[in-house]
Symmetry: C2
């Protein structure tokens, strides 16, 4: 008998038929004798529908009230899924985020989980019930409702798996695993049987939409066995774990992230602590800075450019402009017509041919590279957005078409 | 400075425009210097929409999960109303039932309020905020979500007013007060300036849709000053309070209740305790028995007939059939084509002409009376449903057309 945490996203519970399908998957495991905790997101378009309702009333509502509004979406899902499971004759109970013991920080719409009080979860499992938990939500110390931000339901599932010491955390989604590239973009992309946390983390961070990096980070930290699989097809998915045996493939995947913007500060002072000032300012505004490139200083001046998520661009620029004088910023250049294209793989570091092959593919297609960043297990480049799909295809074929 | 509790029903918050209208009413009182707690129901058709969603999945879901599902409706309303109030520049906070301290019994879909822990409500009012509370909902001792059943939001509002010792509890609705008869049915019906709790209670119980009897009972018990008024028109409503000065009108109103069924048990034993057995059986099934008529015993046999709410009819009949032998029931006759028509007024008792006038109106129209029941302040008759609208008009005109 194992304890399995299963997470189903919004598209997996989009309508009555799909909810019944989820109920079948869940009860299949229960029938085998496993204890099951199921984490669900809001139904397909509920969140958009609620955001639209809010927009009709106030185009700048407080984040606290947005959390109250949006968290109703998962509350609807858990009740409906519990009803579908009841119908199959199983004992089941739904729990909202606060009922399931999710305690978070107060930063609304993007709250961090502080802890999970598992008392209720445990007692319901002890009573032999399937437990259906609302993902994406919790309460802060005032008992105000919070939401966890993007990828929140994945994070909820992994957090429960960690807190309950579950044997497996399955993330059901609309693709049947992790591929070497987006199958919609690259026809001959290959499904990975397994992948390490670090590789998955790079893939997630770099734009693969399968898993959110917060959930992978947490899985790595608490050593939670993850599996990414399809809620529509009964086929094996991709396992994510600490160590993956060396395989033939050097490269785990090629990704692109069109959701990025470049900010360049030209001709700034070449002083110690300057970069610190810039990036602590970004941190204060909760902006995740990604690629950073600094020019070699010359005449006590240098250029700094970096990328930020597209939806942080305006906030970043405004913050920089407000601090223009203090930070001695002369000229800010911004571009949102860029994409980040990356390859990820633990084998890369030991094989110098990888970088060469990567750049060769771009060179052959005459694709200009604006920025480059590398780590032990990835290479990322910033290129024009218009070239990004082609670049992914060419790079994938360079590595996998053998 | 007063503390005012205001309640707005589903039709008052049905869309963005109406929510903005509610925000204007609420802030008008806040601007005058009052402390305001606002209780709202789910938006117009949300509850029906959610019930339909549940029905697509399970036509007999557990009541616990129905409560989880339906309570999301008010959560949406409170967030949207708070956003509308924010937009008008006022400090505001929304609270769900559990956040507002509503503790209830466990009987899902029809829970009774045990107490309100007002700590949070008080601290938010002390912080000079308008507090928007989700009506209709609470949590039981396990922290499971419960709903209060029909008229639940009215009850929530009155309960807060009682617990907080509010100066006034305003129930905003789509009519502008309590009328002597349904204005849709009787053109020349008259709006009452005020009415006593007992009279209001009879009117509510007898089918006037303005206020639910649970909320009036609670208002009477805790001596909460009520006012029923329109959320669409800025005109004085009807005040409901302990004592109403003697006025010209003997009769407060004429009502009909089409939502009733008659059950007749024929030829049952004329034994002591027999009625007790029947009605304790009904009580065990949570069925509210209303009019009761027992025939004069003869040859140790008698007939008992009584009315129950229409939606309890099937449960009542089934319970009686299951206990047929024990209760020596020979023959059960059931009719759902009946209506209860009533007049209510504290002055009635001292004026024997009232009953005569009432029966005369029915007699003149040749309307047959199946059952009669009277109290100090009301006369009710059960007649054929097809005659009920005509009966209300004729009775109203007999008393008010002078």
């Amino acid at each position: 008998m194992s304890l399995i945490v299963q997470k189903f996203g919004g598209s997996s519970v989009a309508d009555a038929h799909r909810i019944e399908n989820v109920a079948k998957i869940v009860t299949k495991f229960k029938k085998k004798g496993d204890d099951v905790v199921v984490v669900v997101s809001a139904q397909g378009d509920t969140t958009d529908f609620l955001i639209e309702k809010a927009g009709e009333i106030n185009n700048n509502p407080s984040k606290r009230e947005m959390d109250v509004l949006l968290s109703s979406g998962e509350q609807i899902s858990i009740a409906l899924l519990a009803m579908a499971i009841e119908k199959l004759g199983f004992s089941v109970i739904s729990l909202t985020g606060w009922q399931a013991g999710f305690r978070t920080k107060t930063n609304h719409t993007n709250a961090r989980i502080v802890k999970i009080d598992t008392t209720r979860l445990k007692s319901e499992l002890d009573a032999n019930k399937i437990v259906v938990v609302a993902g994406f939500q919790g309460v802060d110390k005032l008992e105000d409702i919070t939401t966890l931000g993007r990828g929140g339901s994945d994070t909820s599932a992994v957090a429960i798996a960690a807190a309950m010491n579950a044997d497996l955390c399955q993330i059901y989604t609309d693709v049947d695993g992790v591929y070497t590239a987006d199958p919609n973009l690259v026809e001959n992309s290959i499904k990975l049987e397994c992948i390490s946390y670090d590789e998955m983390l790079e893939l997630s961070t770099l734009g693969a939409q399968v898993l959110h990096n917060r959930s992978v980070e947490m899985a790595k930290r608490y050593n939670v066995n993850l599996e990414v699989l399809s809620s529509f097809e009964d086929v094996p998915g991709t396992k994510v774990k600490e160590r993956v045996d060396m395989e033939q493939l050097l490269i785990r995947g090629v990704t692109k992230d069109d959701y990025t913007a470049r900010i360049a500060l030209l001709n700034v002072p070449d002083e110690s602590g300057y970069a610190y000032n810039i990036f602590s300012l970004m941190g204060k505004h909760n902006i995740n800075v990604d690629l950073i490139v600094q020019s070699y200083g010359c005449n006590n001046r240098k250029d700094i450019s970096f990328t930020v998520p597209l939806d942080s661009m305006d906030v970043a620029v405004e913050a920089l402009k407000e601090n223009k004088d203090r930070l001695k910023i002369d000229d800010i250049k911004v571009s949102d017509s860029v994409s980040k294209v990356s390859i990820v793989g633990a084998g890369m570091q030991m094989n110098p041919g990888v970088a060469a092959k990567f750049f060769e593919a771009l060179y052959k297609a005459n694709i200009n590279i604006h920025m480059i960043s590398t780590s032990e297990i990835k290479i990322s480049v910033l290129i024009d957005k218009k070239d990004s799909s082609l670049a992914v295809k060419l790079i994938h074929n360079a590595f996998f078409d053998y």
